[in-house]
Subunit: 593 residues, 2 copies
């Protein structure tokens, strides 16, 4: 049986000791009710529900999967009851606007409960997540009338939401979608087209499903400038909020996938379905990006949640499984063999996974804090600076945390040997489930292009410059403690590599249109590694004064040093790849491949 305990101590260390999130909460008029006591109580409840209700459904959900019958999708046994409980507990609206029934918790709180949710049951997590993302886009772009009609029901979990972008011929390239919207006399629209890969497009968890659909008006400009966003409910909603007629939107089929099998991935057919415009005509992508940016951080958190649960199980196995003897001679003579943990290579795998997890957790809090500042800070300049930081780090949070989370799950699976390949141990499911996070909500290659192109080259490195300055300030603040050299020196070195890579990126972009995309993924990994080093420096700074008090702090320093020494040197390889440029890559004719 797989095990999982929410890493609450580590979360609190990051929130309250590394970042001092309370200070930000108390500085914001909107967050006066948020306190450490309240948040710890929320986390305890979140962990309890996740461990006891959602975690046991993870394996059974994978085995059973979803099925479609006569246009209805059935989720695996237990999902409906769990979803109802989850909704009734107020979890869906945890971070939502109190004006729509939400609990108004900042991202620095939900980032922790989201990790727990993704660790215990990623398939389940997607159902509420999509609704929250849709609601967020609506809250910023839909009319107050639409918001008041739909959002409270979504936050209450009575209804759920989806995000309908992809079409069979159009994934990343939304400019070529074919779904059409025709204006009606009453102000509504008729939506016609087929969408694929729609997470939670149809299911049995909620009474209604609210689809946010990208479509084009007949006279829309071609390409991405002609895309509008529409709200299309499964059931039309009467004036009094009760459910009316069934709308002309139907599930065509569900996909058979590598993983997240308890998440219904649907083909959705819109056949002159009634919908309502969200935001302005032809500006649908802007509204959709509110949702996408929210999801992208969530996907990064999915990568972290997966590698955390994978770590915990691999560590437990390595403690229990007796196999071989220590290189130093038998350690537990009375047993037929020593536990796996005596082997340095097993520890290497576990420490690598854990060093990733702890840096990733710190990084999600770092981004969450920027999101909160962008939303709650009183100074507009501070809000702008924080929003820029979020823009810079969103693709890294999505792609780096999922690429590394996948590798971490594979490493954790490897600790199990042959048993890692067997379904009953659960490790192979973590690998299959987390793999999607590198693909959906914009593949990690697309994220890398967003980072290198839009967030670096387009502003001539301004965002990076701001970030580098921030890290320099940190380095300066640490230089009086020589014991922290093991953190500051490697971080400073990685930061130089990042600056060099940024300069290269800008230079190359000036002369070779393909260069940015050729360097993008390696640049993103170089950036991510540097950011992890930054996170480890922050954690080391916070742990340093307490290292004599408790092993917890001394261990933080040790694991951080492990990251710096064994994992961070990858930056050089990434820099070499950025330096290589695009010419060689583009020199092969298409027929070569």
């Amino acid at each position: 049986m797989p095990v999982y305990k929410a890493p609450l101590r580590d979360m609190k260390f990051v929130a309250f000791e590394v970042f001092d999130v309370e200070k930000n909460w108390s500085a914001s008029p909107d967050l006066q009710d948020v306190s450490r006591d309240l948040v710890e109580a929320i986390l305890d409840e979140s962990a309890k529900f996740a461990e006891q209700v959602l975690f046991p459904l993870n394996r059974s959900g994978d085995e059973e999967g979803c099925r479609v019958e006569n246009g209805q999708v059935f989720t695996p046994a237990g999902f409906k009851e769990a979803f109802t409980q989850y909704a009734q507990g107020g979890w869906i609206g945890l971070g939502a606007d109190p004006a729509y029934g939400g609990q108004g918790m900042p991202k620095t709180v939900t980032v922790m409960s989201d990790e727990i949710l993704f660790a215990v049951n990623p398939s389940f997590a997607l159902y509420p997540l999509l609704g929250i993302g849709a609601a967020l886009a609506m809250s910023q772009h839909a009319t107050p009338e639409l918001c008041h009609r739909y959002l409270p029901k979504i936050y209450a979990g009575t209804w759920s939401g989806t995000m309908c972008l992809t079409e069979p011929h159009a994934g990343t390239d939304l400019g070529i979608i074919k779904t059409r919207a025709v204006a009606q006399a009453d102000g509504s629209y008729e939506i016609t087209g087929t969408k694929i890969f729609i997470t939670g497009g149809e299911h049995d968890l909620a009474e209604n499903i609210i689809h946010l659909v990208l479509a084009k008006l007949p006279d829309a400009p071609s390409g991405s400038k002609g895309i509008s966003l529409f709200l299309v409910p499964k059931f039309l909603v009467n004036e009094d909020g009760s459910l009316g007629a069934r709308n002309a939107v139907q599930v065509g089929s569900i996909e058979h996938k590598m993983g997240i099998k308890a998440s219904a991935t649907c083909v959705m057919n819109f056949d002159a379905a009634r919908g309502w415009l969200v935001g302005e005509v032809n500006e649908g992508l802007a509204a959709m990006f509110v949702m996408m940016n929210y999801e992208r951080l969530s996907m990064g958190i999915q990568g972290l949640g997966a590698s955390e649960v994978a770590y915990q199980n691999a560590a437990a196995y390595a403690r229990d499984r007796l196999q071989g003897r220590s290189a130093r001679g038998a350690q537990e003579r009375e047993k037929m063999a020593d536990p796996l943990l005596v082997h340095a290579d097993v520890r290497r795998m576990l420490l690598s996974v854990r060093a990733h997890n702890e840096a990733a957790r710190c990084f999600t809090m770092y981004v969450a804090q920027a999101l909160d500042q962008a939303k709650y800070a009183s100074d507009p300049a501070e809000r702008k600076a924080a929003a820029d930081r979020v823009a810079l780090f969103t693709p890294i949070a999505k792609a780096f945390l999922t690429d590394r989370g996948f590798t971490a799950c594979v490493d954790a699976q490897q600790v199990f040997g042959g048993h890692g390949y067997i379904r009953e141990w659960g490790m192979e499911q973590y690998v299959r489930d987390v793999r999607i996070a590198q693909i959906y909500e914009g593949t990690n290659g697309v994220q890398a292009q967003d980072l290198a192109g839009r967030k670096v080259v387009r502003n001539q490195g301004a965002f990076v410059h701001g970030y580098v300055e921030e890290v320099r300030v940190l380095l300066n603040s640490m230089k009086n403690e020589p014991g922290l050299d093991a953190f500051t020196l490697p971080l400073a070195r990685a930061l130089e590599r990042l600056q060099e890579a940024t300069t290269l990126l800008l230079q190359q972009a000036a002369t070779d249109a393909d260069a940015t995309n050729a360097a993008a993924v390696d640049y993103l990994h170089l950036f991510g590694l540097t950011t992890y080093a930054h996170m480890w420096a922050l954690m080391a700074k916070a742990a340093w004064p307490h290292q004599q008090e408790e092993a917890f702090y001394a261990d933080k320093l040790r694991l951080g040093a492990y990251f710096m020494e064994r994992l961070l040197p990858e930056v050089d390889q990434r820099l070499a790849a950025v330096r290589a440029g695009a010419a060689a890559i583009m020199s092969f004719p298409a027929s070569y491949f």
Copy 2:
């Protein structure tokens, strides 16, 4: 529908242009009948059968899987017919001793047909493979009587074979197995115990199944020095070779796995089953290692086969799928979008996979040639040198090719975006199937320990020294062509890293018992990367004189340069990890994990 064409041109380039295998064939009295014409005809037939018969069964076999009913295992539809055809075509005995009905082809031939087999259907491939491995171990250790009774039937595919090592509590650590063998008056033994993870332990493809089983005699020394090897047939064999009574060996259940679902992975119960000793009492591991070393190279080839078929499909998808526009502006204006291949990052993924595949193919031939020399060379010193080279490279062939093959399959899957995650495209199956190759036949961590401990530290780097000298001779032979600097300089640099890492390994081992295992995996990857650079240098040397004649040769040089520039720099990171030593890793108490 997935596509696959055996890469015959690339195979022939490696065999006949890079290595000139014909020269070795004609030098050996045993291989006088082996000619290029014959081998090309064999490869053509192998490719035809694999593409037409075995490849279509790969997807359906995965969907259907194996099932067990009343002690019988049923393979998926089509497998039995395909196995019969495969056996009748003489493929199982292709590399086997003609004295037992084999065709006597050297490893430099079968290495190519094996790649094709693993590319089209790894689950299928394991059924004949295990029989061949068992037969090989028998041919070297069993009595002539046993050999003559069993081997011709195995090579004919009338019977098949297995390898019964693992027990529920004993995987890598075979010293603690509990299966017992009791000598009988007639010279046979009674075998009792439970074995798990037995590939092809029971199935419906052959009339009899010959198990090679590790067990202990009652008075055997403890640990790995007390293990004997026994032949235990499913049906006893009469004096005249006909099948007799059913032996007391039964399948208990089959495993539900992440992949290779058409390969029956069985729990086997031996309940006083009759068996015969193979080799000497208490020397079973030596006999078993004949089989294991054979399998280990095969597993590496599995990694290569998987990444080759994954590459071909990703390349086809990237050519066909229209999505987005080239960074240089639209390339195919008449279409709604450009093919994926215009994007540098898509090319980066494809080229990385292909650069791995071609180096891996060259490397398998390099090892195959050493295997042939160890077997066929007339000079004993030459045989010994070749055997040492094989010993050094077996763990690298197994672990490096499967680790890199897995990453390559994941990259190829990534090219498909969301479609890569959907079962019908087949890419996710390649990832699931190849994952086992990093685990079975000794996990890749165990391989790394074999390399670093047994093949390097134990002989004080003598094998490595011999290899380094060989590469130096090659570098010398290339130094008069400055155009080859793009290959020789990076190779020389990597070779220095390898030497430095080897020195570190030896120094650390002298003072820290855990150091070798702490460094093992990184050392193996450093070694593998250096060897790939070596292979690319060999290929570049062979292609160089012909680069004006045909794009094929110029492309080889281009892809090799890509490897050297973008992928080889990883050696520095690996060296840094080796340098880090074991102290930090071992400093965490067990309770920390």
